[in-house]
Symmetry: none
Subunit: 218 residues, 2 copies
DNA sequence: TGTAAAACTATCCAAAAGGAGTATTGACAA
DNA sequence: TTGTCAATACTCCTTTTGGATAGTTTTACA
């Protein structure tokens, strides 16, 4: 079962997508929101195990638009795929959205079959729907960057488990949540954290996250 | 008139491509080579005004293979487009070729119409033929190198004071310490923090710091 | 087979953080 | 003038953290 979230300010659009997805038993729409702000708020209340796999996001919305919402949500929820749903083929905006973290985009007029196929493919292979001209823009950007940096991450002598936990710490998770993800007790998580702080020579979580970011541990 | 070069070790393949292109009067095959080495040699003898616009390049060749030839030629002739011509859909090699400078790739079994359309499109818009899964790989690489620092620091509408406090939060300071630095009460700091969390749509300090780092707020 | 390191669990405690609400001040715009 | 907003400060309350301490179990390896 693939959990889907739909973010679109028009009720009619949301209903239409749900309609299209409903013929396929693999999909379950678990969250609806009428703009990026509401979406982000609602996401905060969702249990980590119930988070959507794929978010279908409109671009033109009041308050927080699609690009900004994707930018924020994609860093908060790295495991989630974002697909832009748009009526018109506005390459520049789509490109922005993809830079911000979207996996691809789909036109709203796409049939239920195409929609389903694209989403299934996204879930299985990780490849999102991207047109050649968008791909080309991305390619240009890639070439513009120079291949640099390869940080050494082992100077702190963190154990495997500790690295794992540090990574989850940078996600903003708390003891309990990390414990659930790793199937261990929150007490154990705490113990690991304290060890991490000692090895990184810091005294709290935020400083550890800072080290993780600035020293390239994540 | 679009000048085309064909690099393939099999004579039959070259003839086939020429056949397919010949129905279209826009194309003119100006150069043929049976491997990367010969291609590069022949290119040296070509007058700059007569250089091909597009080079169709096989990957599996003796002496210098397609990836190496593209890598060399694309830096020697930056104005020329390289398109990989391949029979099988070997993603990894194609990806290598694209990294090396290819604009895209085409399967050899593609019909003359598709071939012509892709090449015309490449010439006009600069967008090369790229499949979604290749595009996705490129996208991954891009994200690895360019962590979406779109500099859009103002989409969150943080006030000046809030930005200031967010910055101190990323340093790992606590309420009391921040208060001391800014000569305000820790209660006020806390109040600001909660406002920051709401504006960033997060629920704790660590997530805020994560946003700050990944969105380039600091 | 012994041993050291890593991984796990637990409990106590104090400090810190997070959330909600209330309130005052000054600046600036409608 | 009224209204809004940023900044300031406080209280009450709950949850989360960090630290210390004290274990057991697993794993790796010499």
């Amino acid at each position: 079962m693939i959990r889907i979230a739909i973010v679109d300010d028009k009720l009619r659009n949301r209903r239409m997508v749900i309609e299209k997805l409903s013929v396929n038993p693999f999909f379950s729409v678990v969250l609806e929101a009428e703009d990026g702000s509401v979406f982000l708020d609602k996401m905060q209340g969702v249990h980590p195990d119930d988070l959507p796999h794929i978010v279908l996001m409109d671009l033109e919305m009041p308050n927080i638009n699609g690009v900004a919402a994707i930018a924020t949500a994609s860093s908060l929820y790295p495991g989630i795929r974002f697909v832009v749903l748009t009526i018109f083929d506005d390459e520049e905006k789509i490109f922005q959205a993809i830079k911000a973290g979207a996996s691809g985009y789909l036109l709203k007029e796409e049939s239920g079959e195409v929609l389903a196929e694209m989403l299934l493919n996204l879930q299985e292979s990780g490849a999102g729907p991207i047109s050649p001209s968008i791909a080309y823009k991305i390619l240009q950007m890639l070439r513009a960057k120079d291949p640099v940096k390869t940080g050494q991450t082992d100077i702190f002598r963190l154990s495997q488990r500790e690295k794992e936990i540090l990574e989850l710490l940078t996600e903003g998770l708390e003891y309990k949540e990390i414990g659930e993800r790793l199937f261990i007790s929150p007490n154990t998580v705490k113990k690991h954290c304290i060890s991490i702080y000692q090895k990184l020579h810091v005294s709290n979580r935020t400083q550890a996250v800072k080290i993780a970011y600035t020293k390239g541990l994540v």
